[in-house]
């Protein structure tokens, strides 16, 4: 049961006219800068982690085409149910960099009060739903949110992200099945980056393809070259449009590669070879898109370098703006468990006041 792999940016430098989103020069350059920005963000965050300034980080180097291509296709009213690796999509969907960086520090500048680990952010006003660690729990939730919109006759799409590992969970199955049965406006975007921590996708499923699983649910399935930002944009845009048009859900599988570690706690050298990594590095989605833009005469070395410098500077400013914010106040520990604080948490707040001396 093989689905074709959709590719826009062909090896010979041409673009498949059926998949070409036909962006103008400005948009192509903008998209490129977004990808460069993500790479720079990862580098900075990894540096912050290594130097002990933040506790943890999950990078997405190598997956910039999947992140930016799909994120670029979202429209403002759409809802995003991200996984912990999708900061790239969130930023494109209106989650401010300042908020994202503050979340990494988890101090009083963080809109979520330092409640969760880095990479577990959210933004109600941007419709970016709260990231949680348990893999794939967001998938059935995205179906419910989509159902609500459909019930009210709203025309937004609901995109949820997950990984190849996530496709093995029970939550994946129930979400796809509910989306099929209720014909909701969902897009399920699987970043198949070949690994779930150390487990290769060949040990995750014997089906050979995650997109092909869509048929088991009566929804659309699409396999796309996840390192091809134009193709990813195109298939995601189409899937979102089908959703908004009331034509049901799509499962998109973007074939890509996590070039770095699973997280700052991981050592990928334990489970994959240097050659394998090298082979994928040669397919680096940023370099690939840069080559395309260069061929079109839309990019030169100076512009490429400028994009990186600009990105680094913006990130540096964001970090500087929040790094030294004071820590979250101790009492905030017991807030937001319920809408109103019940007696037992008021008691616990009293202990905090006494012992923390606040």
């Amino acid at each position: 049961m093989e689905l074709p792999l959709l590719v826009a940016l062909r090896d010979d430098g041409s673009v498949d006219p059926d998949l070409d989103p036909k962006f103008d020069a400005e948009t192509l350059r903008l998209l490129f800068r977004k990808m460069v920005f993500l790479r720079a963000l990862d580098e900075k965050a990894l540096h912050l982690q290594r130097s002990g300034r933040i506790g943890f980080y999950i990078g997405a180097a190598g997956q910039e085409a999947a992140e930016s291509g799909s994120g670029f296709a979202l429209q403002p009213g759409d809802w995003l149910f991200p996984s912990y690796r999708d900061q790239g999509v969130a930023l494109l969907h209106g989650y401010p960099l300042s908020a994202l960086v503050a979340q990494l520090f988890g101090n009083s500048a963080d809109a979520t009060k330092g409640r969760q680990m880095p990479n577990h952010w959210c933004d109600r006003s941007a419709r970016v739903v709260s990231v949680s660690s348990p893999v794939a729990t967001q998938l059935p939730q995205s179906v419910g949110a989509a159902y609500a919109a459909k019930l009210r006759g709203e025309k937004n799409a609901f995109i949820a992200y997950f990984g190849d590992g996530g496709s093995s969970t029970g939550e994946f199955h129930v979400a796809m099945n509910f989306a099929g049965v209720f014909s909701t406006p969902n897009v399920f975007f699987c970043s198949n980056n070949q690994y779930a921590i150390s487990v290769p996708v060949s040990k995750q499923t014997a089906s050979g393809s995650i997109a092909a699983k869509a048929a088991a649910y009566g929804i659309q399935g699409v396999r796309v070259d996840g390192n091809d930002v134009l193709a990813v944009y195109r298939v995601t845009r189409d899937a979102l449009e089908r959703a908004r048009a009331g034509c049901g859900s799509t499962l998109v599988e973007a074939i890509t590669y996590r070039m770095g570690a699973h997280s700052t706690s991981d050592d990928p050298a334990r489970y994959r070879s240097g050659e394998e990594v090298e082979a994928w590095r040669r397919k680096d989605p940023i370099a690939r898109f840069a080559g395309h833009l260069r061929r079109l005469g839309l990019l030169d070395e100076a512009a490429e370098e400028a994009a990186a410098v600009e990105a680094r500077e913006e990130i540096r400013r964001a970090v500087a703006a929040c790094e030294s914010a004071p820590p979250v106040p101790p009492e905030s520990l017991v807030e937001d468990v319920y809408a109103e604080m019940p007696w037992h948490l008021s008691e616990q707040r009293e202990w905090i006041r006494k012992t923390a001396g606040s």
Partner: protein, 324 residues
Amino acid sequence: MATMTLVQAIHDALALEMERDPRVVLLGEDIGRNGGVFRATEGLWERFGPERVIDTPLAEAGIVGMAIGMSLNGLRPVAEIQFADFIFPAFEQIVSELAKFRYRSAGQFIAPVVIRTPSGGGIKGGHYHSQSPEAYFIHTAGLKVAMPSTPADAKGLLAAAMRDPDPVIFFEPKALYRTAKGEVPEGDFTVPLGKARTVRAGEDVSLITYGATVHVAEEAAALAQEEGIGVDLLDLRTLWPLDIEAVVRSVERTGRAVVLHEAPRTCGFGAELVALIQEKAFLHLKAPVARVTGFDTPFPYALEKLYIPDARRVLDAIRAAVSF
């Protein structure tokens, strides 16, 4: 006032809230055309349509996960889990997600889902149609837990749960669905979450319980009265957040307490009640707080009657407390 069974009162609350608030939707297995295996949603599918009374595929994780998503996007979903025994496939969604959305987003995302589910024994349902799993949910910060014992409370508490800004696990003692009958206020009516009800006042011993065993407790209290023992009987109604004041006030007066539930003893809610009572009323206690509970076994089929606490076991505990 109308006389209703407990399941009719549940139905009444659902129908009224659906009428009152277009954001309310119901979802679960067999709740639509079939009206629910206990008929709690009878006629609602016909009345409010299949978009608001939703028959789902057989997947509790999907039911709760979908309900969470609905609530994030402005609906007020009421999920039915057909039997509390089948709530465990949804445990991940409840414990990791439902309970934590408000906290982890610092109030940006809230998930005011009500999960209705029939619990407890008394219908010869064996292992998987009889359990009382409330303690799992009381232990999970971020959830509210309620269980009515009368038709009026069933209606009022459920309506309150459906308007509450927090997720509520609402246990319905299935043994009472048709056996508990009583006066129920007509139309709009709520019973506030977090307030216990004094079923009868007494001076000698506090008897604290909730759900189906309230009726067992009433029986035991009447028997105790015959022996001259005055029982102060408290129906908690909301298990968590507990009406701690009512509990402490009662025990301070009586100096003795028996806590009663059907769920297994070890790490059951009774343990928490004992711990709280001895923390807050230690110097008033003239006897250890006694627990009368289900056994630490899976729920049995043939020996169901032995498993569920009866008035005699409660009376024994009352006597022991008074004569300690």
